[in-house]
Subunit: 332 residues, 2 copies
């Protein structure tokens, strides 16, 4: 190799979800050297069955694996679900990265190396229904790697189709709750009586749209148990009675649903600066900005926002599994 | 006319909703002599526009109108909405049948007589979004005609796609709240991630299905503000973890949604025997039985159940509007 060659990678980390496969080539310090992605999530494979996973992996990473045969490969996310490549059963809370690393499953990648798949996490309280996550535990591991001071105690919120609110204690996922917020917004916007009313494209970030969003947050703040099926109908009646223009009804609906998630998530997971438990948001900027505005309307300020901590989480998982020996020195 | 002839009707009453048109030929005592129905609800007319309404009316009632020209005709329901034959603007709470009768609109039926259309009712509190009903106010009028002792004070629940919980004081609709319960169940069952899990036909009225329904009710009972988007996800996790068989997950979902409606509706409208406010259920038997079971799990016993009070409500509306002079004597 000449001096311009790519330095030697230490890990190939796969974040393999429902709708996409993302691959990160990482060095021994846990730094992403290069990343690639395709849309071969587990529900969109080039073929059915195991062969589909092999093909998707080979398409994205075959060149790398040819160049660095024997490179360790780890994967997290829905690839380890019952609908994935191979099921990695849930580990039960409290769980940390070390626990994840001792409950893995392994598949033959088809390219001469195994792929170590991380398990999901289950929270199984005595007095309520169980809850599950798969993929978010990796993001959380990455967030704690980035900011070890949150290990003592933190509340982490990962907004999305199925948002997760997570309580961290002593470096472990102590408990968590899933909210179907993004999915509720999608199905109500498309398939309910509200669809016709809110089909108009709303103004982006206009003052009126923001006011409607905050109005939804405030309705959630005032809500009592059981009120959501009633408050959802207000999206319609506010439109019918011209109290809100139809163009911002989707902002109201969004505020109402996010507001319910915030009220319940904060109550259950207890994130607030006052309590000494930092609230950390993890997710994409476009969605996170709504959550920050919603939290603001509730008088809560998050301690930090992190965009994508999956690569760091997968690296930490690989280290815990003994596949990589980390180094503070530059590799190569 | 010989002695076997149909006695003279005093009113033709139309219950004209989204999906059906029902017509009741009534005598002077408010008794239904004969009824007919077709599927020409306002979203399924034989033609667009006013002509569609005329055709639907003529198809169902043309023969009657030919036989008894000049018979008074009244209509209630979505026919008076902005998407109806002619909009009858909402009257504001508190509202009784007399108020409804003074805020009507009239259309030319196309068969020589006008049709008097009842308005809907709006509840417009200072501290929350407005709410609207259209059609249920007629059912309520009918229920109060049937049981005048409820006029002093009652809580009426009309389960459905958009359930209504209504507080009656001094014979008037004092306030009410709509719950999108039936619609939430429909869109989540068909279009969400839960759809695949709950698509199996569940056992009907088996002990297991009933237990799952009650488990949903109990989750609602234990819920805190904002919890519904979280609890909905439990439908999935209870299935994934085999805590409930997939065949009864729809019963759990039904119990959860109806439970949230019951908890909020009872809290807002205050129906209980203990408080001296009777809780009255109005609706079809198949749906009402779920509500009775759900109320039972919450320790609440409804005072009564009425099946369809629209004809009596329309009769009372027609009397209040001066179109019919009621008689305690048999007509004819």
């Amino acid at each position: 190799m000449n001096s311009n060659a790519v330095p030697e990678p230490a890990l190939l980390a796969l974040d393999w979800g429902i709708s996409s496969l993302r691959a990160f080539l990482m060095d021994r310090r846990g730094k992403v050297m290069v990343q690639r992605a395709n849309d071969h999530g587990i529900q969109n494979l080039p073929e059915q069955g195991v062969r589909g996973f092999e093909l998707a992996f080979a398409e994205l990473c075959g060149e790398w694996m040819g160049r660095w045969p024997g490179l360790p490969v780890v994967a997290g996310g829905m690839v380890g679900s019952a609908q994935g490549w191979k099921e990695a059963p849930y580990v039960v809370c409290p769980a940390d990265t070390q626990v994840l690393a001792t409950c893995t499953v392994s598949v033959d990648s088809g390219l001469g190396v195994p792929i170590l798949i991380a398990p999901g996490v289950m929270y199984d309280p005595a007095d309520a229904a169980p809850d599950v996550m798969r993929g978010e535990e990796i993001q959380i591991s990455g967030a704690l790697a980035e900011r070890p001071e949150w290990s003592a105690q933190a509340c982490m919120a990962l907004p999305g189709t199925h948002s997760k609110w997570v309580r961290i204690e002593d470096g472990r996922i102590e408990r968590f709750a899933t909210y179907m917020t993004g999915e509720l917004f999608a199905v109500l916007s498309r398939h309910s009586i509200l669809a016709r009313l809110i089909s108009e494209p709303g103004p982006i970030n206009s003052g009126e749209a923001n006011a409607a969003f905050v109005k939804g947050i405030e309705a959630a703040k005032e809500s009592r148990p059981g009120d959501l099926p009633h408050q959802l109908f207000a999206t319609r009646s506010l439109g019918l009675t011209h109290r809100l223009p139809n163009s911002v009804l989707k902002n109201y609906l969004s505020g109402l649903l996010i507001g319910h998630e915030l009220v319940s998530g904060l109550s259950r997971m207890g994130g607030s600066l006052a309590s000494g438990t930092p609230l950390v948001l993890i997710g994409e900027a476009a969605l996170i900005q709504h959550y920050v505005r919603g939290l603001g309307a509730l008088g809560v300020k998050p301690a930090a926002w992190l965009e994508n901590t999956a690569p760091q989480g997968l690296f930490r998982f690989a280290v815990a599994a003994g596949l990589v020996t980390p180094s503070e020195l530059a590799a190569g």
